[in-house]
Amino acid sequence: MFLLSLKNISKTFGSTRAVKDVSLDVEQGEFFGLLGPSGCGKTTTLRMIAGLERPDTGAIAFDATDITHLPPERRGFGMVFQNYALFPHLNVFENVAFGLRARHKTRDEMRERVNSALELVQLPGYEKRRVDELSGGQQQRVAIARAIAIEPALLLFDEPLSNLDVSLREETRSELRELVTRLHLTAVYVTHDQEEAYALCDRISVMVGGSIMQTGAPRELYERPAEISVARFLGRNNLIRAMRLSSSKTTEAEFKTLEGGHTLRLSLDSGDLQPLNQPVFLAIRPEHVRITASSSNGNLPNTLKAEVREIVFGGATSTVRVDANGLALEALVLQPDGLRVGSICEVSLPPEKLSALKNA
């Protein structure tokens, strides 16, 4: 039984279809991410979960109750807004107590819960401060305290870290994850930052153009994107245009690359065989591309001869760009030993790391 279920949700603004037929399920205690480029509909989806927008079609259920038309104040979800939306005329205490006042809590209970919420976000003693006296990071914490003070049934985050600087963002990120786990909360987290999503979320839905393209654990998305749009958005993938050859077997497919004319083999689940003689994309992460100066790779499958075009030093790793008879590939290596621009090398693409994408 899922805690939160979205069934075929759609939303149109004017002539723009912001969210198209989105369905997703979130389990109790899960930290769920909605990841996608800006304008992909992830915030609109979150706002529909919060009740701030009403879906045109589809249904939202929480704990087996239909809440599609329930106003936000009756949902009991805590939300952390991108710009924090702290009430500028109220001090920190009153901001955090706002939801408790709306619930007519007694003064003692209110004080106790505000104090414990502020302690959880490590801001005890800040009750009397004006919110505009706080730094960005502190405002952020107050916004989180305000959302958890109501003991929300579900915690919603709309890019809450995007206004913080890099170092603070990473620190807050791990605190946030720890806090949510400690309080046994269920969270839906919207972000466009994949690193952030990978670090925080148990499962992630990647949204592109208003639709969910793929849902899965961070590692699964990273290593085996199912869709060209997902692979493009997650970035730093070598995308190889290729056609499946009829010589393919059911467990091991053979593809001919359109650039370079190489033959590549990869292992496939028997369920998702690619159509014959139609261009598809194969994807492989740069760190999975093996590259050697000598011809020691000879006995590995999918080994191609290539010329080194560029070596970019990047600290711990270096990026090597090669050209294999017209096929451009990128490899991430620890030490570009023995490689020089213009020299001939061997690259191999391990079959188990290559994935064939839907939609060419």
Partner: protein, 577 residues
């Protein structure tokens, strides 16, 4: 873990609709009674003769030379005023916004003074200072031993001078605000791309200022079209429409008055549409989120700096001298200031008279009560209109096309009394409610105390609506959403989040409407009755009786009250920031 409540949502939404329905009812009733019906009444009166529809009033009115002359004069005067105010206001804005030099702050503090000076009070101050027997003319006449006054404060030059003095702040204030808003990095980018200073001005700065300039042009044009006190006191035979309408009503020529009123209304509305169209095509949205603001350049020591300082002092003196004159004259006992350049004796007698005579106390009480009633009513009503037009946040996308057009229509109707000269509003209310009417039955508003509060309300409610709306628009919609997500219902959201954030702006707007009401003359002179005689009428009648000192004393007290209220409003504005 608490579950979201599972009560049916229907009751919530129906409660919201009851609230919205009552807001809608309040809005619609006021618009029908205050805007639609009176204006239609004027229009229909101008088109009717002996119970049949006819254009005969228009053909007769428009074939009279005097009307055509007034029409052309009104338009020419307004265009001339716009041009002069633009030249003065924009140059001063560039000088005082872009550079810093001694005396700059003095001028910037005083710059907007004419905006809060009631036109009637400004008019009499001008007469005392610049009239043929005014202080300045007599000083010059005396020092150069001239036979007669060096100039007369009459006709076109006098009107244009007075209009420029009172209306240049529209251009000064709006251009200054526009200059401050411009992202300085845009100009810097243009410079780095090789653009010359003048090219930057014409290709980068001016295009971005266009919305401010258009808005200032509109305000100036409309204010000039509605101008009444100056043409009345020193127009010197220059016919303008507001005067013609006043004259026709004084003569009892009702048909002529309503027909000319329609003509004046049509020109004003046409100007509004023209300027708004133009403004709409030239609106710029800042592309960058963060801009750098330009620092004022310091003029280095030398001729330029001295000239700028002298200019600041001269302009500051010009701004305050009418008010200083008024204060001076208010201390001159009646009959003591005859042929001297400046009054020979000073005493408190005028003020003593003002505060001891029950009549004058009554006049102040009337103006206070009527302006306060109008301003408070406008504030209350503004909340209805704005919450209706702004709607509940978050559900913005759910509004149907009909609702969107409805909102636009309501906003337009609210704007109409603002666009119409005071003369038109007064004539319209008088025409609609001066006899048995469809909406009020046998209750006749004209001749009662309530006619002026109603007229003031109609004239100033657009101002209050705009103030409330502007405050509302500054609030991040996420605040109300956050309150909603924390469990606050509509009323709590309004009381705890929206109201605390908008009240400084709303009260400041209300106070502004209140002080403009205190000095209102144009509309009052058309419909006042003995029981609601306001301050402005008292000032005008003292002037007519040559009780110059008493008139000046009235003016000084009025300015004093306005100053106190404006300082309070300014404090509130700062509170809001």
């Amino acid at each position: 873990m608490p579950k979201p409540s599972s009560q049916p949502a229907a009751s919530y939404f129906s409660r919201v609709s009851i609230l919205r329905l009552s807001l809608l009812a309040a809005t619609v009733v006021v618009l029908i009674y205050g805007v639609i019906y009176p204006n239609l009444a004027v229009l229909s009166a101008s088109l009717r003769q002996d119970d049949s529809w006819t254009f005969v009033h228009y053909t007769s009115v428009l074939s009279q030379r005097s009307t055509i002359e007034a029409l052309i004069n009104s338009i020419l005067l307004s265009i001339g005023t716009v041009v002069l105010c633009a030249i003065v206001g924009v140059s001063l804005a560039f000088l005082f916004e872009r550079y810093t030099f001694p005396g700059r702050r003095l001028f910037s503090v005083l710059a907007a003074l004419p905006l809060v000076l009631p036109p009637l009070v400004g008019t009499i101050a001008f007469i005392f200072l610049l009239g043929e027997s005014g202080i300045l003319s007599r000083l010059i006449q005396g020092s150069f031993r001239l036979q007669s006054a060096p100039w007369t404060l009459r006709g076109w030059p006098a009107l244009l001078l007075f209009h420029t003095y009172t209306m240049y702040p529209f251009f000064y204030v709006l251009t200054g605000a526009g200059l401050r808003r411009i992202d300085a990095s845009l100009a810097e980018a243009a410079r780095s791309l090789g653009a010359h200073r003048l090219t930057v001005l014409s290709r980068v700065v001016l295009p971005q200022l266009t919305p401010s300039l258009v808005a200032a042009g509109l305000l100036t044009f409309m204010t000039s079209m509605a101008s009444f006190s100056a043409p009345l006191f020193f127009g010197g035979g220059v016919r303008v429409l507001t005067l013609e309408i006043y004259g026709a009503r004084q003569r009892g020529d009702a048909e002529m008055a309503v027909t000319e009123t329609v003509v004046l209304a049509v020109i004003s509305l046409a100007a509004l549409i023209f300027f708004q169209r133009y403004e709409g095509t030239r609106r710029f949205v800042a592309a960058a989120l963060k801009g750098t603001t330009r620092r004022r350049e310091i003029i280095p020591k030398g001729l330029a700096r001295n000239l700028a300082t002298v200019a600041a002092i001269v302009f500051s003196l010009m701004l305050v001298s009418p008010v200083l004159t008024l204060i001076l004259v208010s201390f001159a006992p009646e009959g003591s200031w005859t042929t001297q350049a400046i009054p020979a004796q000073y005493s408190l007698s005028n003020y003593v008279r003002l505060f001891s005579e029950p009549q004058s106390g009554e006049v102040f009480l009337n103006s206070f009560a009527m302006s306060a009633i109008a301003a408070v009513a406008a504030l209350a009503w503004s909340f209805c209109v704005v919450s209706l037009v702004a709607g509940e946040s978050g559900s913005g996308s759910q509004h149907s096309r009909a609702a969107k057009y409805g909102k636009r229509f309501v906003s337009l109707l609210v704007l109409i009394p603002w666009a119409l000269p005071g003369t038109v509003v007064a004539v319209a209310v008088a025409e609609a409610y001066g006899r048995r009417s469809l909406l009020l039955g046998s209750f006749v508003l004209v001749g009662t105390f309530w006619i002026l509060p109603v007229v003031y309300f109609l004239r100033f409610m657009p101002l209050v609506v705009r103030a409330v709306q502007a405050s509302m628009e500054q609030i991040d919609p996420a605040l109300s959403e956050a309150a909603g997500s924390l469990g606050a219902k509509v009323l709590r959201r309004f009381m705890r989040v929206t109201l605390p954030l908008i009240w400084p702006g709303a009260i400041a707007g209300t106070l502004l409407a209140f002080v403009i009401g205190l000095g209102e003359y144009v509309a009052s002179v058309l419909v006042f009755v003995p029981i609601n005689r306001p301050i402005s009428i008292a000032i005008a009648s003292e002037m007519r009786d040559f009780n110059l000192g008493t008139a000046a004393a009235y003016g000084v007290v009025l300015i004093g009250i306005i100053a106190i209220v404006m300082i309070a409003a300014g404090r509130l504005e700062r509170l809001r920031g």
